[in-house]
């Protein structure tokens, strides 16, 4: 009995250290936050305000667009991976997860190699007028690339958890495969899809490494944070980080709400 209690004590101590390690940096960000610097950026200096506001808006719009893209393009793939058995499925699943494994800078280089001006698909992208270097489209492409696996994997688990017999019955009652999916499978998977979308959005929001390579401009808030950190130091960067941290925390609360509902 005494041994059990001792091991529990050790485990609790380690757990406390872990919690502190995870919580203290976030708390420190808010504790060291200087309202005067914040006011200087967002209220008193029009130039800094314009730059920061534009970076925030770009980040928000690009991450939302990337998430919308992931939902539109990811749902069919997630459904196929959840429902169908076919040769090469494992390989396909691995391909989906590769962006998760790549270091962020490598992900950026890989995107340039594929869709950049000198990339493999340059003949096609140039004909279509698609430019990713230093464009909003480039930011969306990077964010979609790094966050797609999170959305697809979460949606896949959601689809797989829906009893296949529900679709069988729907089709035996006369519904086409698409109608059965829209009226039965999709509504029942909405929670997983929403959770996947929020997680993917949070991932897109946090990207910086690949963006530094593919699309430094227009600056996202993360790129601007890196830039200001080297130019102005920590105080300005903290003030700039607060809106992003609040947005990330809001997404986290949204995610918990979706999961717990």
């Amino acid at each position: 009995m005494r041994r059990v209690e001792a091991s529990l004590l050790v485990a609790s101590s380690i757990a406390s250290v872990t919690i502190c390690f995870l919580f203290i940096p976030v708390a420190a960000l808010f504790i060291l936050f200087d309202p005067r610097t914040f006011a200087k950026i967002f209220l008193l200096n029009p130039t800094l305000y314009t730059i920061a506001r534009s970076a925030l808006l770009t980040t928000f719009e690009a991450s939302a667009s990337a998430t919308a893209l992931n939902i539109a393009l990811g749902i069919p793939l997630a459904y196929i991976l959840a429902r169908k058995s076919f040769r090469g499925k494992r390989v396909l699943e691995s391909i989906v997860d590769v962006p998760l494994m790549l270091p962020h800078s490598v992900a950026g280089i890989a995107i340039l190699c594929a869709f950049g001006r000198a990339g493999l698909l340059a003949p096609i992208t140039q004909r279509l007028g698609i430019v990713i270097e230093d464009t909003f489209l480039g930011i969306v492409a990077v964010m979609a690339f790094v966050s797609a696996p999170i959305f697809i994997d979460t949606a896949k688990v959601g689809f797989a958890s829906i009893d296949r017999e529900l679709e069988i019955v729907a089709r035996s009652l006369g519904a086409s495969a698409l109608r059965a999916f829209i009226t039965v499978t999709l509504p029942l998977s909405l929670r997983a899809i929403a959770a996947g979308a929020v997680l993917a959005w949070a991932r897109a929001l946090s990207e910086v490494g690949a963006l530094l390579i593919v699309a430094y401009y227009p600056r996202t808030i993360n790129v601007l944070t890196v830039e200001w950190f080297s130019m102005f130091g920590l105080r300005y960067t903290i003030a700039l980080s607060i809106p992003l941290a609040l947005l990330a925390i809001a997404l986290f609360v949204l995610l918990r709400t979706v999961i717990e509902r």
């Binding site: 017999e165 069988i168 035996s172 009652l173 006369g174 519904a175 495969a177 029942l188």
Partner: protein, 243 residues
């Protein structure tokens, strides 16, 4: 009339072979077999949910084996009943009618009619999670029958019910069959179901259809005896208890 000829279905390492099987209009055929004999595979092949390797399934003179499930006119009631959990009972029953594009008033009329027939009118506003096993089964039957299918497939429909409900459920399905005259194929591993429900019995063993007989002949055949031998312990206990 349903005619199955030289049907071969492969699922993984399992192979189902049906040389010939005919089901007359209005007939209640019970497909009897142990677990893994291929009963569900046969039902799914008829309904179009597994690809067939060869053979034909002809319904009323039309080969349906290459048609998608939704164009076969075959309704299925799975073992789990598979009620749509996000829809009320009314919407579950109305599903197939909505798919067919019927008017709202026609749908309402038909749903209320079948609900009255199955004595589930009071359940129409409930969700499936609020129903008992027996109620779920009635709703699943109503949902399948309201579209007036050419053929009704029942996959172990009584297995999930407690013994008391099972008895009344058998009576209900029998009565509905008598009244509505639908054609049914009922797959089960329970020999009691075959005894209580079948006009004919098709006996499956390890993926092969080994006998198709009228109920009377089947229960005097070696197949039924062999099947019953597995329950001999139970029968002895019942005898001892005087049940």
């Amino acid at each position: 009339m349903i005619s199955i000829r030289r049907l071969v279905v492969r699922r993984g390492g399992f192979r189902l072979v049906i040389e010939t099987l005919d089901v007359e209009d209005g007939e209640y055929l019970v497909v009897l077999g142990r677990s893994g004999a291929g009963k569900t595979t046969l039902l799914y092949a008829i309904a179009g949910f597994v690809d067939i390797e060869q053979g034909s399934i002809v319904v009323d003179g039309v080969d349906i084996s290459s048609l998608p499930p939704e164009r076969r006119g075959i309704a299925i009631v799975p073992q789990s009943y598979a009620l749509f959990p996000h829809m009320r009972v009314y919407d579950n029953i109305a599903y197939g009618l909505r798919v067919r594009g019927l008017s709202r008033s026609e749908i309402e009329k038909r749903v209320r009619e079948i609900a009255r027939r199955l004595e589930i009118e009071s359940l129409l506003d409930r969700y499936p999670a609020q129903l008992s096993g027996g109620e779920k089964q009635r709703v699943a039957l109503a949902r399948a029958l309201v579209v007036e299918p050419k053929l009704l497939l029942l996959d172990e429909p009584f297995t999930n019910l407690d013994p008391e409900t099972r008895k009344s459920a058998r009576e209900l399905v029998k009565e509905l069959h008598r009244e509505l005259g639908f054609t049914a194929i009922h797959a089960t591993h329970m020999i009691v179901d075959a005894y209580a429900m079948a006009s004919r019995v098709a006996y499956l063993e390890r993926g092969r259809l080994v006998a198709v007989m009228d109920r009377h002949s089947f229960f005097r055949s070696p197949y039924a005896r062999r099947y019953l031998e597995e329950y001999s312990d139970l029968i002895d206990v019942a005898r001892e208890l005087g049940v």
